[in-house]
Amino acid sequence: MSSRVTHIAANTFREAVRDRVLYNLVAFALLMSGAAILVGQISIGIERLVVVNLGLSAVSLFGVVIAIFIGIGLVSKEIEKRTLYTVLSRSVQRWEFIVGKFFGLAGTLVVNTVCMAIGVFAALLYVSHHFQASDGWILVALYFVVLQFLIVTAIALLFSSFSSPLLSAVFAFSLFVIGSFAEDLRGFASMAHGASKWLATGMAYLVPNFSSFNVIGSVAHEQPVALNLIVANTAYAILYAATALCGAVLIFTRRDLK
């Protein structure tokens, strides 16, 4: 069972690399080197801040875009190319297919993030000329970004399991935006009354909450990240991604593929 999931994951990774997904690293490298060299000339006192803020924001945005646009095609592309039928005819369970796809794309994003992280630290070394202990918190911010990717990938896969690629992209991106406003939704719920309060509260807990993963601003200011936040965010990301993945499995196992 696990070897079948691993094989599907490895194939998904290979396919993503073949689709030139990692080409985004070139754009990222240009962005970072440009920022590191230019910002010192056009601004004052924020060279290090820009490298951290821009670097981590770009890692996050590039990854979210990849997670959505590759994630939405993971199932539909296999159906379109009819390769899904070959895979499923070889004693691969449908859930194994979904879980394998998830880990394949997650692996691609982790590799992509590691490469970008090297770029961020190289740019940081260029502008600061040395590393300091507080730079270690950047690794925590990158870890949170990866946790965010796990959720977005699972959501993209969930929509991909029953909808067309275009609609899946719209749904997944909308959920990403709503997830960024989740705390506002909770604030709105606390101010509402009656049924709307329950509805808003329910929605606030149903949509993913991405705001707790965002520590880019604080690590840019060399502030530490609390250990309990790391533990809680890890647990939340795993649970939410597992929830979306279970939903995808449930839908996909019942889907008529004829």
Binding site: V39, I42, S43, I44, G45, I46, L49, V50, N53, L54, S57, S60, L61, V177, S180, F181, D184, F210, S211, N214, I216, G217, S218, A220, H221, Q223
Partner: protein, 309 residues
């Protein structure tokens, strides 16, 4: 020639021609729209709305707005502008997006407070900005220093300046001069001495090259002002004693009115004019001097990043 090769050549030439033409047309468009594109406007003026729209990337957006602020102030300052309508809103947005961006408070106050042409002359906004910074970063002694600096330099409010320096001095790791400054403010010490102490503290405590250079330029200017005041006092005393003006500055030394004849901070000798005034050789190289300039002297546009020597 094979048709495919022909197509390649034609397409390549067309690509280059079209790209070059589009650049030319765009340049033409820029010249036609310069008034419109450079119009002072903030499309979204609410910091709260911008923070929401940033989707959590507010730190990056703050950096963008801070760079925009620097460019806005720098451009206006260089052009000798007297109106900085967007400066305060830009700083408000920047610091609302990233309340920990200390550099925005420090430089922001220095952009806002001084009277034109050195700044925007918006002292109240500078105080408001610095207080917002203190509220969000109560352990940053630099902000108390900046607040005291604005109160003293731009408002001559010794009491509030002393309070700000005293509060800053209580913060662990604060520069030891803060206590001295607080005491001097409370006593209303000599203006030149106080200003020298302030700029010296800035020079010593900053890590920013441009701030250090600016402080060094102010210290040089204070030295000139002090030298010229001393010369003028001595010339007056010479006139009272001898009934005529000295032929050169060395005569002041010979008459025992000054101990020695100082050079200006750039190493040049001061000039004595026929009407008994003292001038520096090249006032353009000594920005911020208030004395020792020729009559009717207009300072040149500010230079950026003066060298720190």
């Amino acid at each position: 020639m094979r048709p495919s090769r022909q197509v390649t050549i034609i397409a390549s030439v067309a690509l280059i021609l079209c790209l070059a033409s589009s650049v030319l047309v765009l340049r033409r468009l820029d010249s036609m729209r310069s008034g419109a594109t450079l119009k002072e406007v903030l499309l979204i003026s609410s910091p709260k709305v911008l923070k929401r729209l940033s989707l959590g990337y507010d730190g990056l957006l703050a950096d963008v707005y801070w760079t925009r602020t620097v460019q806005y102030f720098g451009g206006k300052h260089y052009d000798g502008g007297h109106s900085y309508a967007l400066l305060a809103p830009l700083l408000e947005i920047t610091t609302a997006l990233d309340p920990q961006l200390i550099v925005a408070y420090e430089f922001g106050a220095n952009f806002l407070a001084p009277k034109p042409p050195n700044g925007a002359g918006l002292t109240e906004q500078a105080i408001k900005l610095t207080n917002f910074g203190i509220q969000n970063n109560p352990q940053e002694w630099h902000l108390y220093y900046d607040l005291g600096f604005v109160y003293y330099m731009d408002l001559k409010d010794y009491r509030r300046a002393a309070e700000a320096f005293a509060k800053g001095a209580e913060i662990p790791g604060a520069h030891p001069f803060l206590r001295v400054l607080a005491a001097q403010m409370a006593q209303h010490g000599g203006e030149l001495e106080m200003a020298r102490l302030l700029w010296f503290t800035t020079y010593q405590s900053t890590g920013e090259r441009s701030v250090r250079a600016n402080a060094a330029a102010h210290l040089r200017a204070l030295q000139v002002d002090e030298d010229v005041i001393n010369f003028e006092r001595a010339i007056e005393a010479y006139h009272d004693k001898m009934g005529s003006l000295p032929a050169n500055l060395d005569e002041l030394k010979t008459a025992g009115l000054i101990k020695n004849v100082p050079l200006d901070p750039l190493g040049n000798a001061y000039k004595l004019t026929a009407d008994g005034r003292v001038e520096v050789v090249d006032p353009d190289d000594l920005p911020f001097i208030t004395k020792g300039t020729p009559i009717g002297y207009v300072p040149p546009p500010p230079r950026f990043l003066p060298t720190d020597h």
